[in-house]
Symmetry: C2
């Protein structure tokens, strides 16, 4: 699924009277809000879906794949995601003993 597909799916969820442009604004607003929350709080938690959190990684040693020489990977900041129980169970494989 890409962004266009996501917008289409959001439109379905919002109801068919919602325009595609409106759904697009909703998607962009949510992504921007998550980004803003990470900038301000370092963490965005949506219970049941998951938690985004800013991670600082210390400098470490890596290998340059071209030269095979060790090199220093500088300290960096990235964003991690811990999946919540609702999302985890939503993607779980079907139960074998469901019937």
């Amino acid at each position: 699924m890409n962004k266009a597909d996501l917008i289409t799916e959001v439109q379905k969820h919002l109801g068919i009277e919602c325009s595609k442009a409106h759904a697009e604004r909703a998607v962009n607003a949510v992504l921007s809000a998550v980004t803003r929350g990470l900038q301000v709080d370092g963490e965005v938690q949506v219970v049941g879906f998951g938690t985004f959190h800013v991670k600082d990684r210390a400098a470490r040693t890596g290998l340059n794949p071209q030269t095979k020489q060790p090199m220093q990977i500088p300290a960096s900041r990235t964003v991690g995601f811990r999946v919540g129980s609702g999302l985890r169970s939503a993607v779980a494989p079907p139960r074998e003993d469901a019937s």
Copy 2:
């Protein structure tokens, strides 16, 4: 940031004429759509923000922290997230040599 804060921030992004309830529906629609995309495609990619992907993890050996005895962690399915370059740079620390 929690879900209520996220909804408030989304409302700001959508414009002040958008109600809180409307912003909440937008948030829920986006989360549901991402969930649906993961169920159907196994992956949801938003260029610049990041990519959610369903991961199957094989069974592996772990340690029961209570008993200190090795135990088998059963195969499972979870959701990973690879941060996109836009989000990564949005949370990056300020440049020291910006001026």
